[in-house]
Subunit: 287 residues, 2 copies
């Protein structure tokens, strides 16, 4: 995040959250707010300011792509344990963007047809077009996370997937898509509280699934699977970012900042007219 | 619209805008505000209040569908001449809804593959799932609008389509989808002004297409095609609504009101727990 948006970001957000060599998930405090010096009220103010900036950049990105002046696009990949706040990010960060420029895909348990194909098949079909902000709510990483933890595929197939993912993402990046991979990181205690709330409130029952506790019981195995995924797939082309998410306000602000960083790097411009403006003005006047 | 949302709606919005027997598009003033007694500032206040109500209803609809307690869903079909404000409706009305509950499709000029199939083929594939608010930005009606005006298909094929559309929409409605068909109606003068603005501002060039003037020159033929479409396809199951759209604030408010009406009619409820709440609380506590 540049100072243009807020003085409360003490450093480059992407750098503060990026998974580099030697990163240990176990050492990251899920209640911390890396790179951000402000508190909740600053965060909310900065989030509101970011909405306006995001809106401007997104419209320019979309506009530029319509004239075929660019192949640039963005893909936000969201992964997390249950209740970590993916839904809140989509609602409050992605939801602030014009829906005409967003392509959201929620990947569920694979269908029979999807299982009959390579694990990337259903994902490739949902890669965003140029000019769009694509959002994956869960993704191909499920196939090396729950896939690994629950041995849903042979070990050698899981191994193969890390390389296949890197090749796939490299191809996207080479074609002009900024790939922003985010894991929302909550603590096991925080998850317990959040799942408990879903069981306490009848208007939250629908968000609860008994399977959530089954997965929760495998917490250490999931953390290990994430750690391995980071080591194998946090590439230069498409690095991972781990966003501490015990504080919802911070997680939203951080993901918005990552989106803003990517868009500012693209630096989209209003495209030139692809027609003769004066001639068109005359044609219009004559109608 | 019920009084629950605003005193400024003097009557049932849906009824005020519905295309009934004897409706003449040519007689409707595109600057009027049918059913609404307030001015722009009231309209903006009511729109903001509607956002909150829409949010609540949408979440309940989505929640109920997740438990398979309902097959209800909504499909908003938007048709209009260029620059009438479809984009603004999607951005400001649809965009206020949680994107996780919205399925937006912008139908463009048909591809070769789409043309090789029946005109409803591409549309059927984009029918919203239960629990979703589907939005069609242009739709199967293009095939009896530009299709008719520009003779893109033989006359007898165009004729056949009206009946095929009615059958298709009846099927959707019988399956639980509320179909809200909206034409945003601007005057020819208003369009001229709006297209002119796109030619005056470099940050709007990308929204302009020389083809817009070609279509504009066929204005009377389009109005006739709309009139015929209304007469042939404004059915009891899926009536048309014509929303005067010279005043953007009114058009947005009216479309929001039509969505609210449909959702209030569905009256979605938080679903019962599909699991034993107490047993799950114990399981969670034990983790």
């Amino acid at each position: 995040m540049t100072a243009s948006t807020s003085q409360n970001w003490s450093a480059d957000t992407s750098a503060a959250l990026r998974v580099g060599p030697g990163f240990r998930l176990a050492d990251l405090d899920p209640s911390s707010t890396p790179g951000y010096s402000g508190g909740k009220s600053h965060g909310q103010k900065d989030l509101a300011a970011g909405v306006i900036r995001l809106d401007q950049l997104q419209e320019r990105l979309y506009a530029e792509s319509r004239s075929e002046a660019t192949r640039a696009g963005v893909l936000l990949v969201l992964q997390a344990m249950d209740s970590a706040g993916k839904g809140g990010i989509i609602r409050h960060v992605v939801g602030s963007v014009d829906p005409q420029g967003v392509a959201l895909t929620a990947f569920k348990k694979p269908t029979t047809e999807e299982l009959a194909n390579d694990f990337l098949w259903r994902v490739e079909r949902r890669v965003p077009e140029p000019g769009f902000i694509g959002v994956f709510d869960r993704s191909h990483y499920e196939d090396v996370l729950i896939g690994r933890v629950r041995s849903l595929a042979p070990a050698e197939e899981i191994e193969r997937r890390y390389g296949a993912i890197n090749d796939f993402e490299k191809r996207l990046v080479d074609a002009g898509t900024r790939v922003i991979k985010v894991m929302l990181h909550i603590s096991s205690d925080e998850q317990k509280e959040r799942l408990g709330e879903r069981l306490d409130r009848p208007d939250k029952y629908w968000k609860y699934n008994p399977g959530d506790v089954d997965e929760r019981e495998l917490w250490p195995a999931y953390m290990e699977a994430y750690q391995i995924a980071f080591e194998r797939t946090s590439t230069e082309a498409a690095p991972w970012h781990v966003v501490p998410a015990n504080r919802k306000w911070y997680a939203r602000l951080a993901v918005q900042a990552l989106l803003l960083d990517a868009l500012e790097e693209i630096d989209p411009q209003w495209p030139e007219a692809t027609f003769d403006v004066e001639a068109e003005q005359k044609r219009l006047a004559a109608t």
